[in-house]
Amino acid sequence: MIPHSPILAIVLPLLGGFLSPVIGILERKHGWRRATGIFALIVMGVVCVVVGSMVTDVWAGQFIIYELGGWSPPWGINLAVDALGAQMALMIAGLGILVVLYSLSYMRDETGLGQFYALLLIVIAGMMGTVLTGDMFNFYVFLEIMSVGSYALVAFRRTPEGIEGGIKYLFIGSIGTTSILISIAMLYGLVGSLNIADIGAKLTLYSGNVPPALTLAFALFVTGVMVKVAMVPFHTWLPDALTGAPTVVSALLAGPAAVVGIYWVARLPYLPFGMPVGVILVSLGLLSMVVGVLMALVQRDFKRMLAYHVISQKGYMVLGIGLGTFGSVLGAQGGLFHLLNHSTYKCLLFMCAGAVLLQANSQKFDELGGLGKKMPVTAAMFLVGSLAISGIPPMNGFVSKYCIYLSGLELGQGWITAIAVVVSALTLASFLKAFSSVFLGQLPGRLEGVREAPRPMLISMAIMAAVCVAIGLLPAIGFNIVGPAQAAAENSVGYITHVFGENYLAAGGMMP
């Protein structure tokens, strides 16, 4: 592992973000084309190398504890990287670099790129922090860093739709983060610690006698996480934000940002609360799957349709993780696997929508059509993404959905599997409409001059599509990542032991 990797994975994009406006000024002054974008790409490349070195060690069986300032937990802040955090960090870095690569062409005609890349890198730093930290308040700070940057990015173009989406995201997102902050404050009042492992150890002392304040803290935390994950009925910010944002930001929010919320959904049943949350996760997951897909089916706007599918697909993940809390390993792995798959194909689908929007200057289904002849590569990529999200074999989406179907049957809840299969069929129906409306049929006269998307955009899309096919054909790649992640999420005793040592739990959460 590269020395200090955990902190470098956070600090590098943060520093890159602060330097971006300076590079932007130099770009304007000296006429260096795309200098800020290339700088952001280099930063993300270095972050990928750093995260890669860290992840290799974690997969080799290490649990990385990094003490900030040399202060031991619970008094000091620590970064704790287990297999679950490693999966998330890898996804954020990998998807982040592709989003930046895509943005080189997509944002080429925009002004204020120094500010844009500053916000983008700061959001990525926030994401990294939320999945790597071992401290609750630190988690809140990183979550706010990510959220505030995201609000600004949604409204970056200052279009009426973007500003409205950004304001809605700001208000609703702030309610979510405030819920989390109040929950953390209540937890601190109850156990006197902010360290995740320490809180987890100390809460076991309440066994069988849970105070109402803890119940309220738990409900507030779940609410905050569900707002970020956009589960129904906490989902209302997402369609407006993803529709109004520049498409590269939509891809960022649909892909890497989804990782943060689901990371906490996967942690929630085990640490720091360890409360039985399975029924809530299964209920919210099913509700979101059904409402999301039915709303997507009737949309007339390309990006809005994709946004509702984000809600529906996250429902699958939450459902799978929820089924995992009832003892189905396949369900928990399916949920985490679906996160891996969804992040790739949803990024790909938003990138295709962005390519269409950039070239045809419209995202309304009724104003598009016949673009398959003009943009054949984009159409092929969109087809791969559509088949993947609909769970059609041999794409990656099928494998994770199949795990979740089997999990429902394994637990004797065939009705859950039936709902999941019907939602997949409706997803396919929705994407048939999208593909037909955008790429098939007659080409409107005003789109005669449309050309294929620029090469950097196609490269990003091709890599995403290749990942969709590769994981579909070789699902062992995905299982090798999500298997250890699922085991790490459920091993709360192992997490506490790695942070504090063998005797900590036996001593009742007191340092021996």
Partner: protein
């Protein structure tokens, strides 16, 4: 329950089936040669001449039967997505209340503990 899935085998079978289908298509084309002419290529719409834009299906009508079958859903849930921020904030407050009551009941009534 075991995870049973052999993607390489299934993909090979799908590609093989596609190839067989394509061969059947080629053979059928060899049997009956297409004889296109400008009249055949014109879209017939009761004698009217249509522009390409007018041939595009309306996206709202694409799944209109689905909308009719689950009309109550679209009237209540779809109609509730008004874009009104005050209403959306109320949904979150209601969601928090439901979550709190659910967790509380699970602990007090069902006795689920940490």
């Amino acid at each position: 329950m075991e995870f049973i899935w052999d993607p390489l085998m299934v993909t090979a079978a799908m590609l093989l089936c596609s190839a067989v289908g394509y061969v059947i298509l080629l053979l059928s084309r060899m049997g009956t040669k297409p004889r296109p002419n400008p009249e055949k290529n014109r879209t017939y719409a009761c004698g009217e001449v249509l522009k390409p834009e007018e041939l595009h299906p309306d996206s709202a009508g694409f799944f209109s039967p689905v909308k009719k079958v689950i009309k109550p859903f679209y009237r209540r849930v779809g109609g509730a997505h008004t874009g009104d921020l005050n209403r959306y904030l109320l949904w979150i407050a209601a969601g928090l209340l439901v979550l709190f009551v659910t967790v509380f009941l699970m602990e007090v009534v069902l006795g689920w503990a940490l």
